[in-house]
Subunit: 359 residues, 3 copies
């Protein structure tokens, strides 16, 4: 708790340099408008420069070339870093280390006698570990967590309260699942229709690789056959839907309430913004970015930046737009007719063409 | 259970007046098409007037000026109230009081010895109350609830089954959290990109003020630094996402599946309709209304009414509209060209202007 | 586990016929690109035909008329079925029967003494069955499940981990609720506004009929009065919102993250695609299909196929479209003006009409 570092020590921790007094001691991180003596803050966005005039922090993390600029008081001490946001994150990790639990296995949890539990594992009361499941060393299983039969949890994972990992699913190391996450629910698969609809057993699994973090109440369905995969380093926000047989590539980011339909492959370093959706059976190429509330209906090339979200406008005006939208084809036709007529007027010698000269 | 009131007593309870026989006894509330003798119903919408002809209820709650109108049988007894829906709600509260639990603390729950539990608190089996947490008097903690270390639950709160309130988060009085709600999951914050992505520790909290109600499986992330705030009287529906450092103002209403991105401030008495989304770092002014499925991408002035949701139309027609939408800029250009040509035709003396004469 | 059938036996099980060697023994189902000897696979989509050339499976399920076609090696054994996907599902059910649990009632669960538990019921540790609740024969209640007072669970139901069924709600037989499903949370109902907002007690229930399956973390609110209904055979995906007093008709399908607002009636055999939304108080007719991300704002006739989802396009191009969308009414006006002017030019004798000759 009582961690204290000089600004110079922090600079060397994050690979940055001090501009000002490197000897000041820092014991806490605080927002720019709250930070006082002994505290470190950061300038995340130019618009916050205006706060610096009255800032009393002992240090301010800034990006390259910021010091000396407008609204940057020379009286403050600065920690200049290539990526100030990364430097901030690293300092925050230093001052606020993750809580350590060494409670062992609570007698009020249920751990099947055939489960294998690693060293230094914490299992809270009311957690359930099924038959032949494994929990790797150092992992923390919070209350109400369910780990199904033969599921595998890697080392140093954190499964927050009421997480469910169904039977046979596999987590790598350092995976963080926030409360209410469901891993391995049945994919939404039926054959036939109506009275004749038949459930397709979902006998595949989910594989979550190392360093994945998944937000609260997000759902990841198990594969029909094979596996649903969330690859190494991917970060998934809250209330996201990942359907059966989907692959999320390494280091991809999926924001809250996005949904990915069955068998779709999301590449590496892809960003899906909030409330976006991707249809089933397509591939989204590496590095693609999909905007908020946007719908992806066909394969996306690598590096593409796509959107279809519409910004809200005044309601009465929008009602008029909405009424006209379905008329768009008629509008095009009207413009085409006009083009033909105007062309005829401009070149009176030219014979009228009755047919559609259209697009 | 066996509550019985005369229509006059109910009228005075809700501040309304009786038109008809105030002495009839009421013991139940029922929908207009089901209510019979001894039962009270209400006319919520003019379109339900047609049910009144064969209504056998002993009383009907109506708004001012309704009695005497078309389709309003004079033979029925009416309770006229300024806001019939509020009157209905108050009568329903009277006839159907919230269940009382006085079970005390179940020995099958886990309550840390350092937690402070108020008088008259009910803690069901399999609930977990962490170290130094507090639960105010009269609160009810259902099975499977997790209250983390140092979390504070006010008085007369109801935490339904499997709710999670993570460490340090604070609830006011009379807060209702429906099943599966997650309060205080980590905000979705990373610095850097790809392999270099660094988790920003989320060390802030969530504060939920008095009289807030939050729907099933909704998620409210803790702040990076500081707090995420849901202010007094706000009502949040199911499956809503509230990101880190968001503020929801007093008495605002957020409908199901809406999402609010990080650091955004929602004012007082704002209404966000279902499946709407608000980007990060903006302010939505007091009293603003955002329509269903609408996307807010910039600050919203107080009182604004905004939409961008599109009503579904026949699929084949919509496919044509969708194909033309991306061509909208071309259509504008075509119209501009036509305007210039027609202008030239109308004023042949005027010289042609080749450049864009713009909108 | 060690189930083994000949291809002929499987053909007669699914009502299909063998083309090739019906005597080969099958003991497993596998994807087309993985299946080897002793394994059965299926051709779900023509695009997978290319895999057949190097397929080593002992049998391939195909639709009528496929064998003999292009890319269909005559050397393989085929099981031809009217609906190959249904045949695949039935074979999968045969080879992968649902796990059987006969653990009885765990002493670490909490079952109220007044609850009625049928024969062959399994109740896992940390499950909670409230007063006067019933659980029908053969049902399986996983850890962390909450069944409220007087709730009724039918026969052969599966309530996965951390499911919540609140008081008084009713499930038919063979209902499957995936982890985190919430049945019977309060509907989102308030009367009045701002400081005066009054909670309307939600005293109705939820009824889930036979053979319904509901996906992970989906929420179904109880009715204000009466009941919210999910009728026989309906299939609901993950993270769906079903509001109070909604009816979902028999065999309807609701895909992930769709939302249905209060009192709306969804007919039979309706399909709501992912992230679609339906406003309150409307009826969606039998057999209607609503596209992904589409918004339904008024009643939908039976059999209608509606959409309003927009496919994502390149971001820079989309920004231009978005900027022009609100200008659509102006564009129409401009075209109308042009039409009048061109008409005047074409017929110079005709008098100019100054007013809007409009649409």
């Amino acid at each position: 708790m009582a961690i204290s570092k000089t600004l110079s020590e922090l600079a060397s921790h994050v690979g940055g340099k001090v501009i000002g007094d490197g000897g000041v001691r820092i014991h806490k991180i605080a927002p720019i408008d709250e930070a006082g003596p002994g505290e470190l803050t950061f300038l995340a966005h130019p618009r916050y420069r205006r706060h610096l005039g009255r800032c009393r922090a002992s240090g301010v993390i800034v990006g390259p070339g910021v010091v000396g600029g407008k609204d940057i008081p020379p009286s403050l001490n600065y920690l200049e870093a290539a990526d100030p946001y990364v430097a901030f994150a690293r300092c925050l990790q230093l001052f606020c280390p993750a809580p350590q639990f060494e409670l062992g296995v609570s007698p009020r949890s249920h751990v099947d006698s055939s489960a294998r539990i690693g060293e230094g594992v914490t299992i809270f009361p009311h957690a359930y570990i099924g038959a032949r499941a494994t929990v790797g060393k150092g992992s923390v299983i919070f209350p109400g967590v369910y780990v199904g039969a033969q599921a595998q949890i890697g080392a140093d994972c954190i499964l927050h309260a009421n997480v469910v990992v169904r039977e046979g699913c596999q987590l790598g190391d350092r995976v963080i699942l926030h409360p209410g996450v469901v891993i391995g629910s049945d994919g939404f698969g039926y054959a036939g229709a109506g009275e004749e609809r038949v459930k397709i057993p979902q006998i595949g699994i989910v594989v979550i690789e190392d360093d994945v973090e998944i937000g609260a109440n997000t759902t990841v369905d198990r594969a029909t056959l094979g596996r649903t995969l969330v690859a190494r380093g991917a970060k998934i926000d809250n209330l996201v839907q990942i359907a059966h047989n989907v692959t999320i590539g390494e280091h991809s980011v999926v924001a809250a309430q996005a949904g990915i339909a069955g068998s779709t492959r999301i590449g590496r370093n892809v960003i899906l913004a909030g409330q976006s959706g991707v249809v089933n059976h397509v591939t989204v190429g590496d590095g693609a970015i999909i905007g908020p509330q946007s719908g992806v209906a066909r394969p996306v090339p690598a590096g593409a930046v796509l959107s279809s979200g519409i910004e809200a406008s005044p309601h009465q005006q929008w009602l008029k737009v909405m009424a006209l939208l379905p008329e768009l084809p008629k509008l095009w036709s009207a413009v085409r007719v006009l083009e033909r007529r105007v062309a005829r007027l401009l070149k009176p010698a030219e014979k009228e063409i009755d047919g559609d000269v259209g697009r």
